[in-house]
């Protein structure tokens, strides 16, 4: 025991000094980054979408929740995360571990956690709602928690997972979103200055096809597989009887778990996540629309929320309005003052009658079939008239 102390102390000394110099270095690089390639965003947002339903798609829910867990742990507050989760696996009767969704069969990480705020659930997860969230075209009575209230200084992480094919991603087996639609939505966001920089990650089959039509600036994209490749799941959990998570997201989560809030890891390291021997599919990247070098783009620019605070201050003393009597003195004078105060609660629900502008209501545009049906009807009518005329 006694012998060990000296080398240990020495070791500690080395560690502490190297740590100190490291700290100094990071401080310098931090300064440098601030001046040359630091992101000038003020807030971070995340839109996380799982487009699948049903028990056998357990893995997609686990995917979306893995990213949700990571961005939340790294600092994006729930009010700035739009989570679209079609199915609630944690409370599914088939879940042998109620209230929990794990990232692997050893139950290493409960990605459901204790505090999940799903903004769009069940049948609300539609391609239309997703596009509406991105473009901001929501009905007037949509609550703020369902809105992407971003501005020209917001960095947005968009993560999608589900079943996809070349150029599209399915939403709940009912509809799909095409890559053109997605690219147009991002363009509309850019035009309206709804983002500063955007990171798009998609874990699906033929995922690269989803971002190849993007044309708006400042978008970086990562996809789990190339065109022609399937994106594979990681492993089966015998307890739930289905695949538990997808390969790409499994390794992404593994990587993000090692990142701490405010750390200095860069996108370059994120791009190395899940090489072909781990993923079996080949992850694809797109940086040609992005203006900063990836080696200087921090992961926390998208996955965290490192605020740029300002502590400069002024010696300023607030001056009370001379027309208002000081409350302290007044309450001493008359104790009953508090009884007649006008308190009111802030309005939480807009009470206006909003049946007309609900989501998905189609007005003014007749169904295409109406045209066809009416033309057939007209034909029949005219044929009958002709027939009677001829007879």
């Amino acid at each position: 025991m006694h012998i060990n102390i000296t080398p240990l102390a020495f070791l500690l000394y080395i560690i502490s000094t190297s740590h100190a110099s490291l700290a100094k270095n990071t401080k310098v690089t931090q300064e440098v980054n601030k001046h040359f390639s630091g992101s000038s965003h003020t807030n971070n947002w995340a839109v996380l979408v799982c487009t699948s339903r049903f028990w056998f798609n357990y893995r997609h829910v686990a995917n979306a929740l893995s990213v949700y867990r990571s961005v939340k742990r790294l600092g994006i507050p729930d009010s700035q995360i739009i989570l679209m989760l079609a199915d609630d696996m944690a409370c599914n009767p088939r879940n042998p571990r109620p209230g929990k969704v794990y990232n692997n069969k050893d139950q290493a990480i409960d990605v459901y956690g204790s505090d999940v705020e799903v903004d769009y659930r069940g049948y609300e997860v539609t391609a239309e709602n997703f596009i509406r969230v991105l473009t901001g075209r929501l009905p007037a009575d949509a609550p703020r928690s369902k809105r992407l209230s971003t501005d020209d200084r917001s960095n947005i992480l968009v993560y999608m997972t589900g079943h996809g094919g070349e150029d599209f991603l399915k939403f709940q087996d009912a509809e799909e979103i095409s890559n053109v639609e997605l690219a147009d939505a991002f363009e509309q966001m850019w035009q309206r200055r709804r983002y500063h920089e955007l990171l798009f990650i998609i874990d699906t089959c033929q995922a690269v096809s989803m971002f190849k039509r993007f044309y708006s600036p400042n978008i970086m994209a990562i996809a789990s597989s190339q065109v022609g490749e399937d994106s594979l799941s990681h492993h089966v959990d015998p307890a739930i009887g289905v695949y538990i998570i997808d390969r790409y997201t499994y390794h992404l989560l593994e990587f993000l778990e090692r990142v701490s809030p405010g750390s200095k890891e860069t996108m370059e390291q994120l791009f190395k996540v899940c090489p072909k021997h781990q993923c079996i599919s080949t992850p694809g990247f797109s940086t040609h629309l992005f203006s900063r070098p990836i080696s200087r783009t921090l992961i926390s620019d998208f996955f965290g929320s490192v605020r740029d605070v300002d502590v400069t201050d002024w010696s300023f003393t607030a001056k009370p309005n001379p027309e208002v009597v000081d409350t302290n003195k007044r309450t001493k004078a008359s104790g009953n003052e508090s009884a007649n105060r006008r308190y009111s609660y802030s309005q939480q629900f807009v009470t206006k009658d909003s049946t007309s502008d609900r989501l998905g209501t189609v007005e003014n545009t007749p169904h295409p079939l109406v045209g066809i049906a009416s033309s057939i009807f007209l034909c029949l009518m005219v044929a009958t008239v002709m027939k009677t005329l001829i007879s």
Binding site: T42, V180, D313, N321, V350, L359, E363
Partner: protein, 539 residues
């Protein structure tokens, strides 16, 4: 009931209905109906509805982005020194009207007719000649610059003119920030990383929620309360009233218990009185607000929220200070988070005396929050031009008249630029993306916006700030409504191959027989003509 068919009728059927002539007529008439009515009706009903929009006006507004901001200046001199006024006016004309590159043209005019009316929103320069050692300028709350000169030599006046130029360009009008604001909207200036001021300024919105939160992490040890209704009336209302034409504010407050920040302050010993104190660095602060953000409930309001948080320091950390970038302790113990709000660490001085429930002193937190609110709205705190210039304190209203005029200018140019940009984006997107629906009410908004932009630009050119702001705000709201209207997204994108997949099963079974019978009909007609010709020839 006869089952047998009338023999006459039967012949009619066999002879007439099956005759080639009838068949031809039937085929042609069906074809005519399909092509003359059916297809146009189908085309019309499946078309994406687009009300007509003033595309030409929008593009001409976008092409000519320049804005003219007129700033009337009035020079007042002592009665017997009219020539001094002329010299100063000429010097100022030269100094002020050298234009910066950018979309905004500042027109400093010295011969304004309205200068004596109440509407005057310009700058008054008053000259005093006194035996002082140095020239001085005093900026009053209402924007009057009172200059004291030692003498009236040309040299001195030229110096004064330069001083006033800096004062007007950098502070009273703040040309650079207005240029940045507009350039940033049009994305013509490259993102200026050095311009930290603009990042902090909130984007224009007609309404804001000011949410004051008092956080008591350990109410069992020390609890605090406030009387926010009275506090805000005392410190905030005069300021908010002054800003009423610009923004509509709603003030809310809440006290949250057991909402703690996970943080580890650093400990240091005070050099002077050897007492220990704890502090946080700016790097630590940049992560501090994330854990509490969700608890603040700022998303309850549907308007953008500015948060002002008073954090009651835990007993074990009291007193807690925060350090500025250069290592000094912050005087207000508060920090600003750009476009989010401000937070202050509140140290209770004497817990034993407070009997468990302390009333938070409004003067302490308001002294921190008011300067921060000013920055968020786009104002400068403690502007500095030179030693010689002294700004009058804005008093309990916290915003001087000249600052209000500056805010009017700033927000007007922002509104105008933003709505022009929005309308331009909309018209560009309509060309790019074919499935955007434009209903009539959207078209009305767009026409309104265009009209209001033109009016606002006119008013700005005349120096009428109030009218300019009114119309620019109207234009801003109208263009935002038009762009973000939910009906714009009625139809999702359908790729061409999907359209084929939908229409072919419907159209093919109908169109094939029609086309074939039409072909026969035409053939027959031609043959008939041919037969008749043959007949004529043989005759």
């Amino acid at each position: 009931m006869s089952t047998s068919v009338n023999p006459k009728h039967r012949t009619f059927l066999s002879n007439d209905f099956n005759s080639k002539k009838t068949q031809t007529w039937a085929a042609i008439s069906i074809g005519v109906v399909i092509f003359a009515f059916g297809i146009p009706i189908w085309w019309k009903t499946t078309e994406v509805y687009r009300a007509s929009l003033p595309f030409d006006e929008i593009s001409s507004l976008y092409e000519d982005k320049s804005l003219t901001v007129k700033v009337p200046i009035l020079v007042k001199v002592p009665e017997n020194a009219d020539n001094v006024a002329d010299i100063l006016t000429n010097a100022l004309k030269l100094d002020l009207n050298n234009d910066m590159k950018g979309q905004i043209k500042f027109l400093y005019s010295f011969d304004d007719m309205n200068s004596k009316s109440n509407k005057f929103t310009g700058i008054v320069i008053r000259l005093n000649v006194k035996s002082t050692e140095q020239m001085e300028a005093h900026v009053a709350k209402d924007g009057t610059i009172t200059c004291t000169l030692p003498n009236t030599e040309k040299n001195t006046i030229d110096q004064l003119s330069l001083l006033i130029r800096d004062l007007i360009k950098d502070v009273i009008i703040n040309e650079a920030l207005l240029h940045h604001m507009v350039g940033n909207i049009y994305r013509t200036t490259h993102e200026d990383r050095h311009d930290r001021n603009l990042i902090k300024v909130v984007q224009a919105n007609p309404k804001f929620e000011l949410l004051f939160s008092l956080l008591c992490p350990e109410p069992q040890v020390q609890a605090a309360t406030w009387d926010m209704e009275k506090d805000s009336e005392m410190f905030l209302t005069p300021m908010l009233n002054k800003l009423q034409h610009l923004f509509d504010f709603h003030v809310g407050s809440q006290i949250l218990y057991y909402t703690a920040i996970p943080y580890k302050p650093k400990v240091k010993k005070d050099e002077q009185n050897k007492a220990l104190y704890r502090y946080l660095t700016p790097q630590q602060l940049s992560l501090v607000i994330n854990p509490i953000e969700g608890r603040l409930g700022s998303q309850v309001s549907s308007d953008p929220t500015l948060n002002f948080v008073v954090y009651l320091t835990e007993k074990k950390f009291t007193p807690l200070y925060i350090k500025t970038e250069n290592g000094d302790l912050s005087k207000s113990n508060a920090f600003l988070v750009p476009r989010w709000g401000s937070m202050q660490f509140y140290n209770i001085k004497n817990i034993s005396e407070s009997n468990g429930l302390t009333r938070v002193d409004p003067q302490i937190f308001m002294s921190a929050f008011i300067p921060h609110l000013r920055i968020l709205l786009g104002l400068q705190n403690n502007p500095y031009v030179g030693e010689q210039i002294i700004f009058e304190d804005a008093g309990y209203e916290n915003i001087a008249d000249w600052e209000l005029n500056y805010l009017y200018r700033l927000r007007t140019v922002e509104h105008i630029a933003s709505s022009i940009h929005t309308l331009h984006s909309l018209s560009k997107l309509l060309n790019q993306i074919s499935n955007i629906v434009i209903n009539d009410n959207i078209a009305t908004e767009v026409y309104d916006a265009v009209e209001s932009i033109i009016k606002a630009k006119g008013a700005l050119k005349n120096g009428d700030l109030k009218t300019a702001l009114k119309y620019s705000k109207k234009a801003f709201i109208a263009s935002e409504t038009a762009f973000f209207d939910p009906t714009l997204l009625e139809l999702l994108y359908f790729p061409e191959d999907q359209k084929f997949a939908i229409y072919i099963p419907l159209f093919l079974p109908i169109s094939l027989p029609i086309l074939i019978s039409l072909r026969y009909a035409f053939q027959r007609c031609r043959k008939k003509d041919f037969d008749e010709e043959e007949k004529e020839k043989t005759d």
